[in-house]
């Protein structure tokens, strides 16, 4: 049904690649730093891809060489950080169950619609991981949703491997047993390797091996990532589908460096998670109804509220479609269920940033951090706010006034001829632009003046 598919990401991006010496200044907006106080009429200066200065407009002199974005009347804040996502890949569930040597780098499709939508929503950092249906699923990777190749997009690789307790035939206990067995196999392999290495050194010391010979055998390439996991050299991202698997997950947390990625219906597990005392990643369904077996009455459940009350930090996820794909919806859902507004915002910024080990890079606006920011037309928790501009590493990568999808969906000239042909291959510019919609549909959507952009 979606006829936007042919309109590829490439068409979105009009900005020329920034050179290293570029200075970008975003001025006039309300700067929401997340970690510090908000600044009205502030300026954010980005130099060499990093934030050089944040201050009141009156206190900053903008270099004359700087490219200036006027954000007057708008909100400037860090781009969102997603701690766990399966989006943007071509096939994310490997059929084989034990494949820790795989990497999402081979599955990420830079042209995926997912990344286009992410930019449109103001997402700047995404941790892409293998799917939930593989026992030991391979390495994830942190990317920014912009770039022509995976290398362009990469923010950090080797972010850990994905594990899942989701029963894959044979039920819950079987899955738990499989995971224990897989980890035990790795430990045995490591022990054997160490034993052989020690024997080699002994023999060498005894003179049975020529002194110039050294131990050259490396760890098996297919086992290396799993070895790193059991040696706590790398993180594991464990998917816990239901409360029933939570006890096992907590047990595993004692042996491995794990981050728990929770399934939707996890509310009964909050006391256990409180005991664990680590930040967790939530499913994108954060508001659902449970029917009381006895009274048949429905009860609303909101895990973020329960976790917030229990003092457990959490990172929010975004859905791959529907309302939960909008950050403002997720934040609004938290707030209407009683979660503190600041805590909700942190769940899409600082908490996931810290989980990814990028707490000093992304998730907040502070001097020295990466130059990632979004400019919204208004409060980030309002449905009527739109992301006008996204800046990643000091480079403007999204502008709403140039967004072909929004131009199309908001086009004023709605003659049937303007519909792109169904399934019509490579016609990225056939629709809205060929239509000569000079007013820049998106900007005019709220009856607001066309934004100057740049």
């Amino acid at each position: 049904m979606n006829r936007f598919l042919p309109i590829a990401t490439a068409a979105l991006l009009v900005a020329a690649p920034a050179t290293a010496q570029d200075v970008l200044a975003v001025k006039g907006g309300r700067v929401v730093t997340v970690t510090g106080p908000s600044i009205d009429d502030g300026v954010v200066l980005i130099q060499n891809g990093r934030i050089a200065r944040i201050a009141k407009a009156a206190d900053v002199e903008i270099p004359w060489t700087a490219k200036v974005i006027d954000a007057t009347g708008k909100v400037v804040m860090p781009t969102w950080v997603i701690a766990h996502s399966q989006g943007g890949q071509r096939g994310f569930n490997e059929n084989m169950q034990n494949v820790p040597w795989l990497s999402v780098a081979d599955a990420i499709d830079p042209a995926a619609l997912y990344f286009e939508e992410a930019l449109r929503s103001g997402v700047g950092t995404i941790h892409v991981l293998p799917g939930n249906q593989t026992l030991l699923g391979g390495s994830g990777m942190v990317v920014r949703p912009f770039g022509r190749t995976v290398e362009d997009m990469a923010v950090s690789a080797r972010t850990g491997i994905k594990l899942s307790l989701l029963a894959s035939g044979g039920g819950r206990l079987q899955q738990i047993r499989r995971l224990r067995r897989a980890l035990e196999d790795v430990r045995e392999y490591l022990a054997d390797y160490e034993r052989r290495k020690a024997e080699f050194e002994q023999e060498k010391a005894a003179g049975a091996v020529p002194a110039d010979k050294t131990w050259t055998e490396e760890l098996d390439r297919t086992k290396k990532p799993a070895c790193d996991l059991v040696q706590k050299k790398t993180k594991g991202w464990l998917f816990v589908p239901t409360v029933a698997e939570l006890e096992e997950a907590l047990r595993l947390c004692q042996q491995l460096d794990l981050v728990l990625v929770l399934g939707a219906n996890i509310d009964e597990g909050v006391p256990l998670l409180k005991r664990l005392g680590q930040p967790v990643v939530l499913d994108d369904e954060i508001e659902y109804f449970e029917t009381d077996e006895e009274t048949q009455k429905e009860r609303k459940v909101c895990p973020p509220k329960l976790l917030a009350d229990a003092g457990v930090p959490f990172a929010l996820s975004l859905g791959l479609g529907g309302p939960t794909s909008h950050p403002w919806w997720q934040l609004g859902t938290c707030v209407r269920n009683g979660v503190d507004r600041q805590r909700a915002i942190e769940a899409l910024t600082t908490v996931p940033a810290r989980l990814l080990g990028l707490g000093d890079q992304v998730g907040a606006l502070a001097e020295g951090m990466l130059g990632n920011l979004q400019i919204l037309t208004g409060d980030p928790l309002q449905a009527t706010s739109w992301v006008d501009t996204v800046v990643l590493d000091g480079e403007v990568v999204y502008e709403r006034s140039q967004d072909p999808k929004l131009k199309y969906l908001f086009a004023r000239d709605l003659a049937p001829a303007a519909k792109p042909a169904e399934g019509g291959g490579q016609t990225p510019k056939a629709g809205p632009e060929g239509n000569g919609d000079a007013t820049g549909g998106g900007a005019g959507a709220n009856g607001k003046p066309k934004d100057g952009g740049r």
């Binding site: 429905e298 609303k300 403002w328 209407r336 449905a383 908001f410 959507a445």
Partner: protein, 411 residues
């Protein structure tokens, strides 16, 4: 506002429930009142007694002596929302009589379960009145009814037992049927229609027969009464409004054409492609129901109809002066009605228009604006106290009142 005070209000309201039942006046003070179809009232006063609204106005509005007062400072009060196309309240299989394709006389009211969780869910989200039509699997499905989402007794909840006649265009009514190609015919599903043409043919035949019967009845011997035909005759005489579900451009045009052919009044339901046929809709002076504007995909099996929703539709209809109503409709992905209005506002409609499209506009369309749809003296005291502006994603209905009674917020 702290969480603590937020929970205080429902507690207060619960204590006023008994008073409201006895007909004693209750005044809700200090809220921002969006009365529906009128300008907002800051720091407003809403006085309710005997299940009816007694007065609504600004700060100076007289509060009767002895009235209980509820402090609603910081809250927003709106009329109870009205969902003009509500899928729920009954099992889907019970809303679709598959024995025949044309069943104008069947009543959705007959299979409503007053305790259906869908009502409780709608109520908790501020919806106090819904219009439930028969399902979309029949060409002419039957009579829709208008009911409140809560009330002391099921019968007292019914506002209209026959508010509409549902007609369905497009691929859906023919989907379950199979063509007879010889061999064994052992199912009721071997029958017409199996195509769009067949669907239109069934509608045309039904109305043709009804018109024929109407014309014959002058002078000639009356043809044997047929309940379905009598319902269609009411539509032809303008006593009952047809609601034609037509999602794609093609189906909307067909719906308008048949209505014009037989001269009956119709509403276009689920008109996803309305933006393409705005001129025709304006010329035909029909009202348009926009089902689930939040959903990027067309409802259920109707996606085969080839309709293509666009963000601009609601705004465009508003600009063209085409009357429209926002509903949840038959889309399984629909959100709470208030969130659908929120998405319409997100996509460029004014907040006032979006709110009117779920309050006074559906009330007028369904002919119940004398009782509900806005906050005005004499109307039923159906209203909602919201924690925030209702179109804020953080808004929750702190209390919902039907006939003046705060309905216990069980969730």
């Amino acid at each position: 506002m702290t969480v603590r005070t937020r929970w205080l209000v429902p507690a207060l309201l619960a204590s006023t429930a008994a008073l409201a039942a006895q007909g004693q006046a209750t005044a809700y003070l200090g809220a921002r009142i969006l009365p529906g179809g009128g300008p907002p009232i800051e720091n407003g006063v809403l006085v309710v007694a005997g299940g009816k609204i007694v007065a609504v106005g600004g700060q100076g509005t007289a509060v009767p002596a002895g009235a209980a007062t509820v402090d609603c400072a910081g809250r927003t009060i709106t009329p109870g929302l009205i969902d003009a196309s509500f899928r729920g309240g009954a099992a889907l299989a019970d809303l679709n009589e598959q024995g025949e394709e044309v069943t104008p006389h069947l009543r959705a009211l007959d299979c409503l379960d007053p305790d259906d969780p869908a009502f409780a869910r709608a109520l908790a989200a501020g919806v106090t009145t819904v219009h439930v039509m028969p399902g979309t699997r029949n060409v002419i499905g039957g009579l829709g009814c208008v009911v409140k989402t809560a009330g002391a007794e099921p019968a007292a909840r019914v506002l209209k037992d026959a508010a509409s006649l549902r007609i369905v265009m497009g691929a859906e009514p023919s989907m379950g049927n199979r063509a007879i190609r010889g061999g064994r015919v052992d199912s009721i599903y071997y029958r017409r229609p199996t195509t769009r043409m067949g669907v239109v043919w069934e509608v045309r035949k039904a109305f043709h027969d009804a018109r024929q019967a109407l014309e014959q009845s002058v002078g000639a011997a009356p043809s044997p009464p047929s309940p379905g035909r009598e319902v269609l005759a009411r539509v032809l005489r303008g006593e009952l409004t047809a609601y034609t579900t037509a999602r794609s451009e093609q189906d909307i045009r067909t719906a308008l054409r048949i209505a014009a052919e037989f001269g009956y009044q119709t509403v276009i339901d689920e008109a996803q492609d309305a933006y393409v046929v705005a001129d025709e809709l304006a010329a035909a002076k029909v009202t348009v129901l926009l089902g689930a504007p939040s959903a990027p995909q067309v409802a259920g099996p109707g996606s085969a109809d080839g309709a293509e929703p666009r963000y601009a539709t609601a705004r465009l209809l508003a600009e063209r002066g085409i009357p429209f109503v926002i509903t949840t409709g038959s889309n399984f992905a629909a959100l709470d009605l208030v969130r659908e209005a929120m998405f319409a506002a997100r996509n460029g409609m004014s907040v006032a228009q979006a709110l009117d499209a779920v309050t006074i506009a559906p009330a007028r369309l369904l002919g119940i604006d004398g009782r509900t749809g806005s906050l005005a003296p004499g109307k039923d005291a159906d209203f909602v106290v919201w924690s925030h502006d209702p179109l804020d994603p953080a808004a929750v209905a702190e209390s919902v009142h039907i006939d003046g009674n705060p309905v216990p917020a069980s969730r």
